[in-house]
Protein backbone atom coordinates (compact mmCIF):
# COMPACT_ATOMS: atom_id res chain seq x y z
CA UNK A 1 0.00 0.00 0.00
CA UNK A 2 1.37 3.40 -0.97
CA UNK A 3 1.94 5.85 1.85
CA UNK A 4 -0.43 8.82 1.90
CA UNK A 5 0.98 12.25 1.31
CA UNK A 6 -0.03 13.59 4.72
CA UNK A 7 0.94 10.94 7.24
CA UNK A 8 -0.29 11.20 10.80
CA UNK A 9 2.52 10.55 13.28
CA UNK A 10 1.39 8.37 16.10
CA UNK A 11 3.29 7.55 19.25
CA UNK A 12 2.99 4.23 21.06
CA UNK A 13 0.22 4.06 23.60
CA UNK A 14 1.26 5.93 26.75
CA UNK A 15 -0.45 3.48 29.04
CA UNK A 16 2.19 0.80 28.98
CA UNK A 17 4.15 -1.50 26.74
CA UNK A 18 2.54 -2.24 23.43
CA UNK A 19 2.69 -5.24 21.17
CA UNK A 20 3.82 -2.80 18.52
CA UNK A 21 6.06 -0.65 20.67
CA UNK A 22 8.75 -0.61 18.00
CA UNK A 23 6.51 1.19 15.61
CA UNK A 24 6.59 4.90 16.32
CA UNK A 25 4.48 5.96 13.38
CA UNK A 26 1.68 4.61 11.36
CA UNK A 27 -0.64 6.07 8.83
CA UNK A 28 -4.26 5.16 8.42
CA UNK A 29 -5.49 4.56 4.94
CA UNK A 30 -8.70 3.19 3.59
CA UNK A 31 -8.00 -0.29 2.26
CA UNK A 32 -7.19 -0.21 -1.41
CA UNK A 33 -7.16 3.55 -1.46
CA UNK A 34 -4.30 6.02 -1.25
CA UNK A 35 -6.40 8.66 0.44
CA UNK A 36 -5.54 9.23 4.10
CA UNK A 37 -8.45 8.08 6.19
CA UNK A 38 -7.61 10.27 9.18
CA UNK A 39 -6.82 13.08 9.11
CA UNK A 40 -7.62 14.43 5.69
CA UNK A 41 -11.11 13.13 4.96
CA UNK A 42 -12.87 14.76 7.87
CA UNK A 43 -16.26 14.63 6.23
CA UNK A 44 -16.37 10.90 6.88
CA UNK A 45 -15.93 11.35 10.63
CA UNK A 46 -18.33 12.57 13.27
CA UNK A 47 -16.95 15.84 14.57
CA UNK A 48 -18.18 18.31 17.14
CA UNK A 49 -19.39 21.32 15.22
CA UNK A 50 -20.37 23.04 18.46
CA UNK A 51 -23.20 25.44 19.01
CA UNK A 52 -22.56 28.98 17.96
CA UNK A 53 -24.03 31.34 20.50
CA UNK A 54 -22.91 34.88 19.85
CA UNK A 55 -23.09 37.61 22.47
CA UNK A 56 -25.87 39.23 20.52
CA UNK A 57 -27.89 36.02 20.31
CA UNK A 58 -27.32 35.35 24.00
CA UNK A 59 -28.66 38.82 24.76
CA UNK A 60 -31.76 38.20 22.69
CA UNK A 61 -32.22 34.79 24.25
CA UNK A 62 -32.03 36.20 27.75
CA UNK A 63 -35.24 38.16 27.09
CA UNK A 64 -37.22 34.97 26.57
CA UNK A 65 -38.83 33.53 29.72
CA UNK A 66 -37.12 30.31 30.80
CA UNK A 67 -34.01 30.95 28.75
CA UNK A 68 -31.79 31.00 31.84
CA UNK A 69 -32.18 27.21 31.99
CA UNK A 70 -31.05 26.92 28.39
CA UNK A 71 -28.02 29.09 29.02
CA UNK A 72 -27.14 27.07 32.11
CA UNK A 73 -27.18 23.82 30.18
CA UNK A 74 -25.36 25.39 27.27
CA UNK A 75 -22.51 26.26 29.63
CA UNK A 76 -22.49 22.69 30.90
CA UNK A 77 -22.44 21.43 27.32
CA UNK A 78 -19.48 23.67 26.50
CA UNK A 79 -17.59 22.64 29.61
CA UNK A 80 -18.16 18.91 29.32
CA UNK A 81 -17.55 18.19 25.68
CA UNK A 82 -17.42 14.41 25.89
CA UNK A 83 -18.23 13.01 22.47
CA UNK A 84 -18.62 9.33 21.62
CA UNK A 85 -15.26 7.62 22.01
CA UNK A 86 -13.45 10.64 23.46
CA UNK A 87 -12.91 9.32 26.99
CA UNK A 88 -9.62 7.50 27.32
CA UNK A 89 -9.70 6.67 31.02
CA UNK A 90 -11.00 3.24 31.92
CA UNK A 91 -13.95 2.18 34.02
CA UNK A 92 -12.59 -1.36 34.25
CA UNK A 93 -9.76 -2.10 36.63
CA UNK A 94 -7.18 -4.85 36.80
CA UNK A 95 -7.75 -5.40 40.48
CA UNK A 96 -9.29 -4.14 43.67
CA UNK A 97 -7.80 -0.74 44.48
CA UNK A 98 -7.99 -1.58 48.16
CA UNK A 99 -5.50 -4.36 47.51
CA UNK A 100 -3.40 -2.96 44.65
CA UNK A 101 -3.03 0.50 46.18
CA UNK A 102 -4.03 2.16 42.92
CA UNK A 103 -5.12 5.77 43.24
CA UNK A 104 -8.88 6.09 43.02
CA UNK A 105 -10.16 9.30 41.47
CA UNK A 106 -13.45 10.10 39.75
CA UNK A 107 -13.11 9.98 35.99
CA UNK A 108 -9.61 8.57 36.05
CA UNK A 109 -8.30 5.08 35.43
CA UNK A 110 -7.47 2.99 38.46
CA UNK A 111 -5.28 -0.09 38.39
CA UNK A 112 -4.48 -0.67 34.70
CA UNK A 113 -1.82 -3.35 35.15
CA UNK A 114 -3.82 -5.89 33.18
CA UNK A 115 -1.89 -9.16 33.08
CA UNK A 116 -2.68 -10.21 29.52
CA UNK A 117 -2.61 -7.00 27.46
CA UNK A 118 -3.84 -3.46 27.22
CA UNK A 119 -7.44 -2.33 27.26
CA UNK A 120 -8.62 0.85 25.52
CA UNK A 121 -12.18 2.16 25.58
CA UNK A 122 -14.08 2.54 22.33
CA UNK A 123 -17.14 4.09 23.97
CA UNK A 124 -18.11 5.11 27.52
CA UNK A 125 -21.53 5.75 29.05
CA UNK A 126 -22.27 9.46 29.28
CA UNK A 127 -20.68 10.38 25.97
CA UNK A 128 -22.85 12.20 23.43
CA UNK A 129 -23.16 11.84 19.71
CA UNK A 130 -21.88 14.47 17.30
CA UNK A 131 -22.93 12.39 14.31
CA UNK A 132 -25.57 13.94 12.08
CA UNK A 133 -28.02 11.04 12.38
CA UNK A 134 -28.10 11.14 16.19
CA UNK A 135 -26.81 14.56 17.21
CA UNK A 136 -27.03 15.03 20.98
CA UNK A 137 -28.03 11.46 21.86
CA UNK A 138 -26.22 10.17 24.91
CA UNK A 139 -24.84 6.70 25.59
CA UNK A 140 -26.72 5.42 28.64
CA UNK A 141 -26.96 2.34 30.81
CA UNK A 142 -24.69 -0.60 31.42
CA UNK A 143 -23.86 -2.43 28.19
CA UNK A 144 -24.47 -6.16 28.47
CA UNK A 145 -23.51 -7.86 25.24
CA UNK A 146 -21.92 -6.62 22.03
CA UNK A 147 -21.99 -7.63 18.41
CA UNK A 148 -19.94 -6.48 15.46
CA UNK A 149 -20.08 -6.85 11.72
CA UNK A 150 -18.82 -5.19 8.57
CA UNK A 151 -21.27 -2.55 7.46
CA UNK A 152 -19.27 -2.10 4.28
CA UNK A 153 -15.65 -2.55 3.21
CA UNK A 154 -14.55 0.50 5.16
CA UNK A 155 -16.77 0.42 8.22
CA UNK A 156 -17.10 -1.78 11.28
CA UNK A 157 -20.42 -1.52 13.08
CA UNK A 158 -20.40 -2.33 16.79
CA UNK A 159 -23.77 -2.74 18.46
CA UNK A 160 -24.64 -3.10 22.10
CA UNK A 161 -27.63 -2.81 24.35
CA UNK A 162 -27.92 -0.64 27.42
CA UNK A 163 -29.59 -2.92 29.99
CA UNK A 164 -31.84 -0.10 31.16
CA UNK A 165 -34.85 -0.67 33.40
CA UNK A 166 -37.50 1.80 32.29
CA UNK A 167 -39.74 2.80 35.20
CA UNK A 168 -38.36 0.12 37.52
CA UNK A 169 -35.42 2.20 38.69
CA UNK A 170 -35.05 5.82 39.73
CA UNK A 171 -32.94 6.83 36.75
CA UNK A 172 -35.48 6.19 34.04
CA UNK A 173 -34.22 5.76 30.49
Amino acid sequence: MKEPSAPSPVAPSPSGPSMHAGSTTFVCTVAGDDTPAMPGTKSRYCTDKGIELTEENAGLLSMIPGSSEFLKYYKLYEAEGYTVGSITDLVVEAGDAAVSGATVEDGKSGDVAFPFGEIKPIVTAGERSVCDESLGEVIVGKPDGMGAYLLDDHTIRVLFQSESYGPLTANEA
Binding site: S13, V30, Y45, C46, G85, C131, A148, L151, P167
Partner: protein, 196 residues
Protein backbone atom coordinates in the same frame (compact mmCIF):
# COMPACT_ATOMS: atom_id res chain seq x y z
CA UNK B 1 -40.02 3.48 16.23
CA UNK B 2 -42.32 2.02 13.58
CA UNK B 3 -42.42 5.42 11.87
CA UNK B 4 -43.61 7.11 15.05
CA UNK B 5 -46.31 4.56 15.87
CA UNK B 6 -44.72 3.73 19.23
CA UNK B 7 -42.30 5.39 21.62
CA UNK B 8 -40.12 2.88 23.47
CA UNK B 9 -38.13 3.39 26.66
CA UNK B 10 -35.97 1.12 28.76
CA UNK B 11 -33.11 -0.74 27.13
CA UNK B 12 -31.76 0.67 23.90
CA UNK B 13 -29.74 -1.04 21.21
CA UNK B 14 -27.19 1.40 19.84
CA UNK B 15 -24.75 1.10 17.02
CA UNK B 16 -21.46 2.90 16.58
CA UNK B 17 -19.69 2.83 13.23
CA UNK B 18 -15.90 2.95 13.19
CA UNK B 19 -13.47 3.40 10.35
CA UNK B 20 -12.28 -0.14 9.64
CA UNK B 21 -8.67 0.70 8.90
CA UNK B 22 -8.27 2.85 11.98
CA UNK B 23 -10.02 0.25 14.11
CA UNK B 24 -7.51 -2.36 12.97
CA UNK B 25 -4.68 -0.23 14.37
CA UNK B 26 -6.43 1.32 17.32
CA UNK B 27 -4.38 -0.43 19.98
CA UNK B 28 -1.23 1.32 18.75
CA UNK B 29 -2.91 4.63 18.02
CA UNK B 30 -2.28 7.36 20.59
CA UNK B 31 -5.57 9.18 20.12
CA UNK B 32 -9.06 8.48 21.42
CA UNK B 33 -11.64 6.28 19.76
CA UNK B 34 -13.66 9.37 18.79
CA UNK B 35 -11.15 9.96 15.99
CA UNK B 36 -12.46 6.91 14.17
CA UNK B 37 -16.21 7.26 14.80
CA UNK B 38 -18.13 7.69 11.54
CA UNK B 39 -21.68 7.06 12.76
CA UNK B 40 -23.86 6.41 15.79
CA UNK B 41 -27.56 5.79 16.33
CA UNK B 42 -30.41 3.59 17.47
CA UNK B 43 -30.44 0.19 15.80
CA UNK B 44 -34.12 -0.64 16.22
CA UNK B 45 -36.26 1.05 13.59
CA UNK B 46 -39.14 -1.43 13.56
CA UNK B 47 -40.36 -3.78 16.28
CA UNK B 48 -42.91 -6.55 16.53
CA UNK B 49 -44.56 -8.08 19.58
CA UNK B 50 -45.11 -11.74 20.40
CA UNK B 51 -48.23 -11.77 18.22
CA UNK B 52 -46.18 -10.52 15.27
CA UNK B 53 -47.93 -7.15 15.38
CA UNK B 54 -46.00 -3.92 14.97
CA UNK B 55 -45.74 -2.15 18.32
CA UNK B 56 -48.21 0.71 18.51
CA UNK B 57 -49.31 3.45 20.90
CA UNK B 58 -50.43 2.29 24.34
CA UNK B 59 -54.06 2.81 25.32
CA UNK B 60 -53.63 4.77 28.56
CA UNK B 61 -56.90 3.86 30.27
CA UNK B 62 -57.41 0.23 29.32
CA UNK B 63 -56.26 -2.65 27.20
CA UNK B 64 -54.24 -2.16 24.03
CA UNK B 65 -55.78 -4.81 21.79
CA UNK B 66 -53.23 -4.60 18.96
CA UNK B 67 -49.56 -3.75 19.10
CA UNK B 68 -48.92 -4.04 22.85
CA UNK B 69 -45.45 -4.97 24.00
CA UNK B 70 -46.61 -8.03 25.88
CA UNK B 71 -43.78 -8.17 28.41
CA UNK B 72 -45.38 -5.00 29.84
CA UNK B 73 -48.93 -6.36 29.88
CA UNK B 74 -51.23 -9.27 30.52
CA UNK B 75 -52.56 -11.31 27.63
CA UNK B 76 -55.34 -8.77 27.06
CA UNK B 77 -52.86 -5.93 26.62
CA UNK B 78 -53.49 -4.25 29.99
CA UNK B 79 -50.47 -2.67 31.71
CA UNK B 80 -49.16 -5.17 34.27
CA UNK B 81 -45.81 -3.71 35.35
CA UNK B 82 -45.47 -2.59 38.97
CA UNK B 83 -44.89 1.01 37.94
CA UNK B 84 -46.02 3.27 35.14
CA UNK B 85 -43.47 5.16 33.06
CA UNK B 86 -42.71 8.57 34.52
CA UNK B 87 -42.01 9.90 31.06
CA UNK B 88 -44.34 9.57 28.13
CA UNK B 89 -43.29 6.47 26.27
CA UNK B 90 -45.63 3.66 25.33
CA UNK B 91 -43.66 0.55 26.22
CA UNK B 92 -40.23 -0.37 27.47
CA UNK B 93 -37.73 -3.14 26.90
CA UNK B 94 -36.85 -4.30 30.36
CA UNK B 95 -33.23 -5.06 31.21
CA UNK B 96 -32.04 -6.62 27.98
CA UNK B 97 -29.25 -9.04 28.83
CA UNK B 98 -26.60 -11.41 27.51
CA UNK B 99 -26.81 -10.01 24.00
CA UNK B 100 -24.67 -11.33 21.18
CA UNK B 101 -24.50 -11.79 17.42
CA UNK B 102 -25.25 -15.02 15.62
CA UNK B 103 -23.98 -15.12 12.05
CA UNK B 104 -26.06 -16.48 9.22
CA UNK B 105 -25.24 -20.08 8.27
CA UNK B 106 -22.42 -20.19 10.79
CA UNK B 107 -22.48 -23.99 10.89
CA UNK B 108 -22.10 -24.51 7.16
CA UNK B 109 -24.01 -23.90 3.93
CA UNK B 110 -27.72 -23.66 4.71
CA UNK B 111 -27.27 -24.56 8.37
CA UNK B 112 -28.22 -22.06 11.04
CA UNK B 113 -30.04 -18.74 10.89
CA UNK B 114 -30.80 -17.32 7.47
CA UNK B 115 -29.81 -13.80 8.57
CA UNK B 116 -27.28 -12.18 10.90
CA UNK B 117 -29.21 -11.68 14.12
CA UNK B 118 -28.48 -10.11 17.48
CA UNK B 119 -30.14 -12.09 20.27
CA UNK B 120 -31.05 -10.66 23.64
CA UNK B 121 -33.51 -11.29 26.42
CA UNK B 122 -35.39 -9.31 29.03
CA UNK B 123 -33.87 -10.80 32.16
CA UNK B 124 -36.10 -9.77 35.06
CA UNK B 125 -39.27 -7.85 35.78
CA UNK B 126 -41.45 -6.51 38.52
CA UNK B 127 -45.20 -6.89 38.04
CA UNK B 128 -48.25 -5.58 39.80
CA UNK B 129 -49.26 -8.24 42.34
CA UNK B 130 -52.90 -7.84 41.33
CA UNK B 131 -52.28 -8.57 37.65
CA UNK B 132 -51.53 -11.57 35.53
CA UNK B 133 -48.72 -11.12 33.01
CA UNK B 134 -47.24 -12.63 29.86
CA UNK B 135 -43.61 -12.54 31.02
CA UNK B 136 -40.20 -11.35 29.94
CA UNK B 137 -39.67 -11.42 26.22
CA UNK B 138 -36.87 -12.87 24.16
CA UNK B 139 -35.81 -10.81 21.12
CA UNK B 140 -33.99 -11.16 17.82
CA UNK B 141 -32.78 -8.08 15.96
CA UNK B 142 -32.30 -8.54 12.23
CA UNK B 143 -29.34 -6.19 11.84
CA UNK B 144 -29.81 -5.84 8.09
CA UNK B 145 -33.38 -4.56 8.30
CA UNK B 146 -33.11 -2.94 11.77
CA UNK B 147 -36.15 -4.96 12.81
CA UNK B 148 -36.65 -6.37 16.30
CA UNK B 149 -38.82 -9.46 16.69
CA UNK B 150 -40.22 -10.78 19.98
CA UNK B 151 -39.65 -14.50 19.62
CA UNK B 152 -40.64 -15.99 22.96
CA UNK B 153 -41.39 -15.40 26.62
CA UNK B 154 -39.06 -17.71 28.46
CA UNK B 155 -37.19 -15.87 31.11
CA UNK B 156 -39.79 -15.92 33.88
CA UNK B 157 -38.27 -19.35 34.34
CA UNK B 158 -34.85 -17.79 34.84
CA UNK B 159 -33.60 -18.17 31.28
CA UNK B 160 -31.62 -15.13 30.28
CA UNK B 161 -28.87 -16.52 28.08
CA UNK B 162 -29.08 -18.17 24.70
CA UNK B 163 -26.71 -19.54 22.11
CA UNK B 164 -27.28 -21.08 18.74
CA UNK B 165 -25.94 -24.62 18.50
CA UNK B 166 -25.30 -26.73 15.42
CA UNK B 167 -28.50 -28.49 14.39
CA UNK B 168 -26.56 -30.33 11.69
CA UNK B 169 -29.65 -30.08 9.54
CA UNK B 170 -30.81 -27.31 7.18
CA UNK B 171 -34.45 -27.55 8.28
CA UNK B 172 -33.85 -26.83 11.95
CA UNK B 173 -32.36 -24.07 14.02
CA UNK B 174 -31.42 -24.92 17.59
CA UNK B 175 -30.99 -22.51 20.47
CA UNK B 176 -29.69 -23.57 23.86
CA UNK B 177 -31.15 -21.63 26.76
CA UNK B 178 -29.55 -21.25 30.13
CA UNK B 179 -29.65 -18.77 32.89
CA UNK B 180 -29.90 -18.13 36.55
CA UNK B 181 -30.64 -20.51 39.35
CA UNK B 182 -34.09 -21.68 40.34
CA UNK B 183 -33.86 -19.30 43.27
CA UNK B 184 -33.20 -16.42 40.91
CA UNK B 185 -36.11 -17.54 38.79
CA UNK B 186 -38.39 -17.21 41.76
CA UNK B 187 -36.83 -13.87 42.60
CA UNK B 188 -37.65 -12.55 39.13
CA UNK B 189 -41.28 -12.21 39.96
CA UNK B 190 -41.38 -10.51 43.28
CA UNK B 191 -37.93 -9.82 44.63
CA UNK B 192 -36.04 -8.64 41.60
CA UNK B 193 -33.71 -6.46 43.66
CA UNK B 194 -32.03 -9.63 44.86
CA UNK B 195 -30.63 -10.12 41.40
CA UNK B 196 -28.27 -7.18 41.78
Amino acid sequence: MNNGAALIGGSHINYIDYDREMFSKFMTYSGPASDMVVGMGQHIKRAYNLRNELLSHRVRDGATPVGAHLSNTNAEGEWAVARLPRIEYDWFYQSLCSAHMEEAHQWGPGIGFEDDVYLTNEEWHSYNDEMTFVGNTYHALDVTTDTMYAIGAMSMGGFEKSAEINAQHPEYVMIAMSGKSILAAICHRREDQLLF
